[in-house]
Amino acid sequence: MIEFKNVKKYYKMGNNIIKAVDDISFKIEDGKCTVILGPSGSGKSTTLNLLGGMDTVTDGMIFLDGEDITKLNEKELEDYRRKKIGFVFQFYNLIQQLTVRENVGITADMVTESLDIDEILDGVGLKERKNLFPQNLSGGELQRVAIARALVKKPRVLLCDEPTGALDSETGKLILKLLKKVSKENNISLIIVTHNASLEKIADKVIRLKDGRIVSDVINENPLEIDEVVW
């Protein structure tokens, strides 16, 4: 269970204070797919980064399995990211000098109980491509690698910031399908941040943000399969 309790994140820009996240509270149940939706600048990435332990809150508490991560020190945050969080970026952020397999492998080495690298790569459909370098892959393939990399260390939560933002819609759908599939299989909470409203139909839960505040927080009783969604 993930819980945000009155979380605020303010940035100081000269004399202005930017309220990137302004007093938000919500809960997310385990193993569910959550979509955080909102226009650009509404505070989605900030919310995700706070949960990912990459940024510190100005105020409020964030619980993962009952532990308040805003209380963790730098060292503990490292461990938190290492063991509990998987991250998928819009621009993949793979290490260019490592092959597909190595990119996944170097992350697998971080934890004691990782999934099997080759199995994972098979799972994301990269069996044939695993000895290639990122520069030789397409955007969709790159995102698959990123997903494999995030999954291999069996995270509690998989955080995806605009995972389909740089992809065409067909490829985007395939990636979303993959994300849903693997998170379900491994009982991982999946949180997807996007500005694309058509994604709301596939989620178990949709949180809408605007200007750093929650506009709505609804549970989707009947999420659609990705193929049913019109983009």
Partner: protein, 754 residues
Amino acid sequence: MKYLNIKMLRDMKQNFTQFIAVFLMAAISVLIFSGMASVWTGLNKVVSDEVSDTNMADYYIKALGITGEDKEKLLKTDGIDKVSLSAEYTFSASDGQSEINITTVDSYDVSSFTLLKGKELLLEGQGIYLDSDYASEHNLKTGDILKIDNIAGECIEIEISGLVHSPEYFYFTGAVTETVPNYEKYGYGFVSNQTFEKLCMQLNYTTAKVKGNYISETGDFEEIFGERFICVQDRGDFAQYSRSEKESSQMKKMATLFSAVFILLSLLTMYTSMVRLVDRQKEAIGTMKGLGVKTKQILIHYASYGIFVPLLGGILGLIIGRFTVSKALMKVKQTTLYLPEWKLIHSPYSFVLIAGIMICCVFASVMAAKKVLKGNPVEIMRGNTNNSKMKKEVKETSLINHFPYGLRLAFRNIAQNKIRFIMGIVGVMGGMVLIIAGFGVKDAINSSNEFVFSKQFTYDIKGILKNSDVELEDVQYLYETAIELQTADEIKQTSLSSFEAGEFYNFYDNKENKIGLPDKGALISRHLADEMGITAGDNIKIRIPGRNEWINIYIQNTVKMLSPQGLFISKTALENAGAAFKRTGFVTDSHDANYYSDISGVKNVITRSEQLENTELVADSVMSIVKLLIMASVLLSVVILYNLGILNYVERVREYSTMKVLGFYQREIRSIAILECVITTIIGWVLGLILGRIFLKVYIKIISFDTFEWLSDASIATYVIASVIIIGVSLLVNLLLAHKIRKIVMVEALKSVE
């Protein structure tokens, strides 16, 4: 263009490290080189001015009792334009504390002197024109009375008519036992014939100073002087003058060689920095191109980067060099050379150097910009011009699959940035080489002096005799003279030392085994032997001044004799070869120095520890330059390594922040980040050790005079210090980078790319 200039300022802020690296490199290179160059340029100028102002002789003909008639004959000889006759003798000051070498001439046509104080330069008169350095050391000024003992031991009072300097006394040590000028003990002066006769009781000219382009051929002189002819020397053989040329050229070689390595390193660094700088401007270049800025304008814009930064650095170097390097070097040279004045003159080469650096930087930035400009604007903006040269695929069987990921990364990074890798190695290596050379010079001086004054010589006191018929107790007599040495190929001026039985001079072979002085044949110092291609078993010929015939000498062996360079022969062997042994000096370990200096037949004495002190004085002064060089080298290594480290960091910061987000520990990221630097440092260090050794040997060989063989083995401490410095610098840079990595704001770093 105005906006481009504003842009340039903004770029400078953003690429501070690169600009600073280029700036510092230019400044340091110019500082070192120009600092030294202006000393020798000034020295050469002062020397050549004084040589031409005083109409200094081109040749010195030595003969006994040169007459006016001889002079007429000389003047009729082809190629001789002007002649002055001179006589000289060294007198003691009446207080017995110093000696003055006094010359008289029949005219000032050739080799006059520079009048520094006093009314006018007279040929006739009662007074003395005294060496100004001696005068100032003894608080004497024009109009004061100088008291000198004449040849009969009577005290003669002479008024000082003026203070002078002569280029014939640039390097005047006063006695062969001394190696550095000592104004307190030795001076020189000029007097009229009349005054000279008062001092010497007689006047016999022994040197004809000649102006002209006479080509050395002694036959004519033997015809004119007959038996009285001794030898002819050209200006270059005249050590009291030519030392100034030698010192100047030594300085030149020392500075040029050192700077060459230095400049090469800086150019490489500047080049890569400029390339890197422009490379990072891809987006800006693409935008400018897209906005329709002309290619030429873009190129000019980037070329201007290459002009201003090094120009400013160069000018700064020029200015600072004058107050640091020049000052220090001048101080050193002042200990060995008597000059009427010391000037610093900027060498034209310093400006050539600045221009060269600018050209290199302009070239680098324009080339880099051109490369980037080739693509279309959109491609450029998206950063698609960096065609990373990663191989397509890695085979399952590839060896690299057995390495840890960090090493794989490092290897591939290296493979992708070969030039930078090589640069890094060259930087570390260069730093090592320069530091080893710097400290090595000190080692060389110390160990050479140590060898000369504790292994070669074991006497306590060395004395020079006034005349050869003095009888002393408990001494080993020496005969030291200049000789001409002839092999099948060449004739060279060198020295001969002959010894009566005794054990104060020790001879060693190359393996430092002691060799006795043979009864047949001579030993030759190995440096001279190498130079002239002489080996043990050869027969050579020598000629002693004042004697016309060549004497055959068999070379028994070459010996490790650092100074003096020349032949060493026992009295027996010398007499067997057909030459007379004339006592010119002695060495001993009984009594003390005062005992011998009080004996009337003894001209002067010096203790071995005084001799060592003299050389240490020179060594100390050399060290002050070496220290500057070392400091510059360290700074250079810091800049190179830091620059490389930063380049590396900036390129990888996105990867590092990704890793951080993925949960890599600080130390894991750090170890990956510094691995490349560590590999570079290790390779550069090993190569630097090897190359430093070789460079030092060459360096010492080039800067040493042919009268002294410098040992060129650096001590272990030197290698250790150089290693500690370089590895320390490398570590420091890594620490800085580690700090930067720790400070990465993940969110920012990930965002900035989009």
